[in-house]
Symmetry: C2
Subunit: 422 residues, 2 copies
């Protein structure tokens, strides 16, 4: 992508109302645009990062047999009433007129904030025998939650992107085995996104009365607090924990420390509550009718992007891991205007060669920016490798290569650029 | 994909409330599930087809310089009031409580049914000079429209998938040149989806007061009526046309015929209305402030899937074009149960070989279905090539190959299956 063609620009100042680092850098870099409190647009650079994260999540969900589908945002009352989740505070409700008028019929849709009921209802159409179980299905979809005070940038939005997977089983034992598989898949997702996650015992909030597990990433800006064993890594969310700082770990006897953290994923044993309330059952090998067991597994995709920014940045901007960077290479051409066509020609050739080789390059071909402005933009946007071509580097038949997460620069011969990068 | 693992099943009967062929076949085949009137889930097979269509659309939008982004569904009143589109009947409105209560504050969000205002507002942050123009950006996103009577299956929904591209220009002339490029890209999209589209002069409905163009696909179930020249292909939508059946074509003098058709895309010259109302302007080469010209270009992705089904089916089911089929091959294994492991083993080998070669295969490995049931499912689901392996074909060291759109079957040697298919 030629930076001269990108319709967004970097901004020197963060909006005054954004206090979170993720929102500041993502806004200044042109990754997101805040439309309303807790409601963001993903601009071309940000949507590329989201696409990378979504692909990682899809690959890992497919690897544990998840079948991808896409359910509606408009969730009718008939789905939510049987589970007593129709009128929770978390919902945004849909009506046909902009003004609420007395005697107007009540809303008939809530904007989906979770899809247990919808998928259970779909499944009841197809599942009747033990032979139809187990299976799992997932979607990546915009979700809506009525947050009174949307804050922390993209860490807590009113509209956000989420992956939700649901699994259906003939027994709790089978569900528990799948729960372990999903847990491993989740560790892989976060690791591939450059994040170290902590598996944490937690309560289920308003969504379930069972114990559940969260994946927490340590960060001072996190809204969660966990007790973490510094020896074995066992963790409990403070909300449900009986532990205190400096207590002994109940698993290994090590010391427990209190940490702030960001919840990036969660997994739930939902029991048979949804299937019992929504008529999903199966007949077993002996002809006996049984309840279906359900697991639910969420990952906030946009929150994941924000978390990566929170834990991987410096005073100049974002430091994207290779796996989710909008572009791997930020190619910067200096002194390349009319007076020095040779530099421009060489930059164009490198851009063309790399692009043809399948390398993703953001090419700063802008002729009205200084070297300082271009370097500042590259640091802010945070692609993993910066390649500079200038009269100075060409005097050595070279380009200058610098990794965003290192201080050193190196000169690389023009003939060896591809090898040095790929 | 092993059909035994797919959580959906085919249904013998279409739901009584679905009269349109697209909804009947897509529901019976397990492509979609109707959640509410005009609101569908895309099940794994259907979501694969949608993915194929979305990829085609993305490729053609990228080819004309479209930058992909993703805007919110929650569109705040502040965006829509300046263009007087806040309280149109087409909107679904969002409130924080399920029941409308007197004295409750009015809704502050409409669910996005079109994003001219949102993108114009974003653009106003980045565009100030003629150097920042032109550019175009698009998204593929769920849209919401309050249809009083949602009907025709997926041809007219209340929640549906849409691609909307917007272009911004320094002059109407520049907009018109891009309009022609977009027109050619649209023809490519529909052709790649196996559809012959008719470029049709049309009015703009409630969205614009200028003339616009639609892409119409001839079909008896279409809600539109066009006058089409049988000689040169010129067409006008009946809503704005002064023509009558049998009139002379205003372009070539040929005979005009009246046809029913489905609108699959539209392109609009929006003039400067949005930029004028939302403070998007630019300073030209002479330092003079000017209005920005805007074009808008829509394609209904879910409607496109439904249209393909409407024009490409027979009495047994869907006939997918290769480009958008959920799987290219439907591999059917017969007599392959315990008593004949050799057939099962051969089928498994073909499945494994083709999958490794990157061919998308739906493998009917179900042991509890008759040959007749498997053939009926294959015809209903409509993959382009059916490959049958049975004791009978193996007696000739062969498989039986049949294209969904042809009657003939042929025996193909086991060694040549890959070549015959790829």
């Amino acid at each position: 992508m030629r930076q001269s063609q990108l319709f967004t620009k970097t901004l020197r100042e963060a909006p005054a109302d954004e206090v979170a680092i993720n929102a500041q850098y993502l806004t200044r870099g042109g990754f997101v645009f805040k439309n309303s409190a807790g409601v963001y647009s993903f601009l071309p650079l940000g949507w590329r990062v989201m696409g990378k994260i979504m692909n990682i999540v899809k690959e890992e969900m497919n690897a544990i047999g998840g079948q991808e589908l896409f359910m509606p945002a408009l969730v009718e009352k008939k789905f939510m009433e049987p589970t007593a989740r129709w009128d929770l505070d978390v919902g945004f409700y849909v009506s046909e007129k902009p003004s609420a008028i007395s005697h107007q019929p009540s809303a008939s849709f809530v904007l989906g904030w979770s899809h247990e009921e919808v998928l259970t209802s779909i499944a009841s159409k197809y599942v009747s025998s033990y032979k139809d179980l187990p299976f799992s299905a997932y979607q990546i979809q915009t979700k809506f939650r009525h947050e009174a005070r949307a804050k922390s940038g993209l860490l807590r939005g009113r509209e956000f992107m989420m992956k939700d997977l649901y699994s259906f089983h003939a027994s709790e034992k089978d569900l528990e085995a799948y729960y372990e598989k999903a847990k491993e898949a989740y560790f892989k997702v976060f690791e591939r996104c450059g994040l170290k996650s902590v598996y944490t015992l937690a309560g289920g909030g308003v969504f379930t009365d069972k114990f559940t597990h969260e994946f927490q990433v340590l960060s001072e800006v996190g809204e969660d607090t966990i007790f973490l064993c510094s020896k074995c890594g066992y963790a409990e969310n403070k909300e449900i924990s009986k532990l205190n700082e400096e207590d002994r770990c109940p698993k290994c006897g090590g010391r427990v420390v209190e940490k702030k953290s960001i919840e990036v994923g969660n997994i739930f044993n939902q029991g048979t509550r949804y299937s019992d309330n929504l008529n999903l059952s199966f007949v077993d090998e002996n002809g006996v009718k049984n309840s279906v067991w359900m697991g639910a597994y969420g990952i906030g995709i946009s929150r994941l992007m924000a978390t990566i920014v929170e834990v991987s940045n410096d005073e100049r901007g974002i430091i994207w891991p290779d796996s989710v960077a909008p572009y791997k290479i930020h190619l910067i051409q200096l002194d390349g205007n009319n007076q020095e066509p040779i530099t421009k020609n060489q930059a164009e050739k490198i851009y063309s060669d790399l692009t043809k080789a399948g390398v993703e390059v953001l090419y700063d071909d802008r002729s009205d920016k200084t070297a300082g402005e271009k370097f500042a933009d590259a640091d802010l946007i945070g692609c993993p490798i910066r390649v500079v071509i200038s009269n100075k580097t060409l005097a050595h038949d070279s380009v200058e290569l610098k990794r965003r997460n290192q201080k050193e620069t190196e000169l690389v011969s023009l003939n060896e650029v591809s090898q040095a990068i790929i």
